[in-house]
Symmetry: C2
């Protein structure tokens, strides 16, 4: 395929994409296929000779689309949104064409530098304290991670490296393994599974802190765990607080958790993978309070403050903050040169400099080599998407986008509250509503089963204190009040059927 | 931006992309910017109001392009190719539009199933032994990892988990830390930095095996290291063999290394991130020999054989194989049910099943939930690219693509050999030529500096046995013999200048 054929086919694909998204409401949100559906539909080996584009695009409709879960359908209310937008798609096309691998500054200076500035734009939109920003002087700063999982893992590994080096500096006879055996990370019992995965990968213990009645991690439970573990000779080193949990969008109490981490010299990572974006709205920004709390310390004592954006394949980005606490005890800041020091804490864990990646500016202190900030070596020009989206929406447009989702969630909540058969199971703060039929888990499992079998809408469940709960997450860019209302009517119908069946069951048992 | 504006702007972007790639030869391959160039060119904060697309696309030319290293320029000979193609870009557009996150089968069945079948297509193109393929029965099978770094890390973590569980099964009193303290991974002194990074992340020791005169890991050096470490009470558990090293595209001797890993019960990971693609050509397939060697064992003894594709943001994929050795000693296969067992060895390290990710088919044994095969939870519909590229090139087209690159490398090698001032520093097997001026490292550093300052072509160096060497890697899809010849003439000119300057220096010293 040469450039002129690409011009033709690319434009056809633009139309296909626009048609798909304009018509997505007409497609069944969840597919009708069984496991293994695809293999019989395509050849067992790759073709020897090239095939025509027409045949491929025809197969997209025949083979791929019947097996697609349509995440951008206005009837998709499962998981969390993976935001998508036309500006992001345009940026992606450009990103693919440039096709650089931005592992170092020299590998494509624009790729690194736009990311640094875009992360500053985002940091300012979130009203992050100054110390989180790169600015002209290069202190702090952000990085786009591939996914929220990687953001948490990178923070955990950086914290592990820092505490290990610190302890070994004081007691050179300590082996890494002897230290790791005693390290403990903490997170709420409501945290995302990626925190547990990070601890498995990092080879350290993770303890779940019981959350309170509102599913939030609080000071007392955390302090209790820390005290108990320290008394047992263990070394607390890492706490993950979640703002907007996956199960029910609860918020750990940063204002309480932060000071404890500060006092104990423990690295605090804030996972705001879902809720982070909402903090660009002033009315939701208070949910992030506690970040300032700790950074109101003298700047030079504040330690490193890089923040990690979890890209998560999202188009409108979600956020994961690494707010590294400085330390009075275990993890003592050693450097004077804040600029280098701040980055070094994060990058120290991964820094390797083979000759083939060296370039003339790398030791200048002026540049960022993002490969030291992440797990993989390679990285795409992902900040183009942020640049396009921020500019084509404007901050006001992005705020409006978030507010609409929150309003729709509250509209759904109001509908649920009007129906006495149902209950709301967690406070509705952003775009997620947790609800269930009053009654047994079995009843609610049957309800979800009937909803997802009908495939008019798509939901996933969660478990809250062993109660089976349905999650209704506002996801699509194009979802409107009418879709939410129709979804609710459908849920009510399904509920009626399930309740009727239950009544019959009970009647049968009685008879 | 609505669908109709996207139709218009998307088509403009298609033209912009085509123009960019058609005209890339006219752009200076390496940019003229200094660190920090970009920040003053754009506002310090995101705009409040939306901006026009025209302004953004204008800024791409004004702000982004001057800072781009053009990886697809035919004068780009640095690092390794990050293959790109028009079919891949078309697939990427579709992938962005569908915008699903394929962490489980249910999250988008087509996303998972196409990947499984595409990895089988690739496995067959590579003539991998049957045990590596998923097939109808679901044994073995492949997964696309985000990058080569992740492929290596996932393999290391899976091996770490397996050996730990095995040892704990025999001696329940052993803690994970006590085991990890004794675990040792091995790789050649020529391996990519990502292997060291994986060992740092995994918290295990890594030992570099001295390579032979051809920069290959051989049996004797590996066996010696294993014996020494076992005698010291350590536990060898993981070997990374590289096919196509980054420095000089050397090949570890799989036919020797494989049997040792087999004998010692050590997991063997094959990193073929660069060279892997070439194995689809029959004339290069022998470089992978040794894979069969071990899998000519009885099938049920062969252990798991998933293979990991390192996506590495590449468009024409490169390959990383995980060939897990079964074990007679430390790591003994325990299962009879090969289908489940085979996958379990890889997925066991990461398996977490929160309620919000459960779906009705997950325990059926029929489906693949790729989230257990990788570090992140989220993943894009990346197999669409493989599907488009395999079909629109055909196997013959892909073979021709690789052969052209290899031929161009040999053409460059021949040019270098004709000039007695130069020497070739490593055998040329695929698309990389390592060369230098006969003389000091300083001289060659000056040569590279002058080449990269002139910015007509772009190269990076490597270090081979402390010799500073220039790498000439055939990278671009559009590079032709004429470009290679022009690049060589340019290198000769630069060399003449550098040698003359050296002569003057020497003359001055004499005077």
């Amino acid at each position: 395929m040469n450039a002129s054929e690409f011009r033709r086919r690319g434009k056809e694909m633009v139309d296909y994409v626009a048609d798909y998204l304009e018509g997505i409401e007409g497609r069944q949100v969840f597919p009708d296929v069984d496991p293994g559906y695809l293999r019989p539909l395509i050849p067992t080996t790759a073709p020897q000779e090239p095939e025509a584009f027409e045949d491929i695009i025809e197969d997209v409709e025949k083979i791929i689309m019947p097996g697609v879960t349509h995440w951008h359908s206005p009837y998709f209310f499962a998981y969390f949104p993976t935001a998508s937008s036309y500006p992001a798609m345009l940026a992606d096309m450009l990103c693919g064409a440039i096709g650089c691998i931005g592992f170092s500054w020299a590998a494509s200076p624009a790729c690194t530098e736009l990311e640094t500035v875009m992360m500053d734009w985002l940091g300012k939109m979130l009203q992050l304290p100054e110390a989180f920003l790169a600015g002209e002087a290069g202190e702090g700063g952000g990085v786009i991670q591939g996914t929220a999982s990687e953001a948490t893992l990178v923070a955990l590994l950086a914290a592990r490296t820092k505490v290990t080096r610190c302890l070994q500096a004081a007691s050179p006879e300590l082996t890494q393994a002897a230290i790791m055996e005693k390290l403990v990370a903490y997170t709420s019992d409501q945290a995302h599974s990626s925190v547990e995965k990070a601890s498995l990968i990092g080879g350290v213990r993770l303890k779940a802190i019981p959350s309170d009645a509102k599913f939030a991690m609080r000071a007392s439970a955390l302090q209790e765990a820390l005290d108990r573990d320290k008394a047992a000779g263990l070394i607390p080193f890492f706490v993950v607080a979640t703002l907007g949990t996956t199960s029910c969008c609860s918020f750990d109490n940063l204002l309480e958790v932060g000071p404890i981490c500060h006092e104990e010299g423990v690295w605090l990572h804030v996972d705001a993978a879902y809720a982070g974006s909402a903090f660009i709205c002033p009315e939701f920004r208070h949910l992030l309070n506690g970040v300032e709390e700790h950074l109101s310390l003298p700047r030079e004592a504040a330690g490193t403050a890089p923040f990690l954006l979890a890209h998560n394949e999202a188009r409108v980005p979600s956020l994961s903050l690494t707010h590294q606490e400085h330390s009075h005890s275990v993890v003592r800041p050693r450097a004077r040169g804040a600029q280098v020091k701040k980055r070094t804490d994060l990058t120290g864990a991964f820094r390797l400099d083979p000759v083939y990646l060296r370039h003339s500016h790398q030791d200048s202190g002026l540049i960022t080599d993002y490969r030291h900030w992440q797990l993989p070596l390679g990285r795409r020009f992902r900040s183009l998407k942020m640049w396009f989206v921020f500019r084509m929406y404007g901050v006001k447009g992005l705020q409006a986008y978030i507010r609409k989702h929150v309003q729709l969630a509250h509209a759904f909540e109001a509908l649920v509250r009007q129906d006495p058969r149902f209950e709301i199971c967690a406070e509705v703060t952003l775009g997620l509503v947790c609800f269930r039929l009053k009654g047994s888990n079995k009843l609610n499992e049957a309800l979800l089963e009937s909803i997802n079998s009908a495939k008019k809408i798509h939901l996933v469940p969660c478990s809250l204190r062993d109660r089976f709960v349905l999650r209704f997450a506002i996801c699509s860019r194009t979802v409107e009040l009418a879709h939410v209302q129709r979804a609710w009517e459908h849920i009510q119908e399904m509920a009626a059927t399930v309740l009727a069946a239950q009544g019959e069951d009970k009647a049968e048992i009685k008879n």
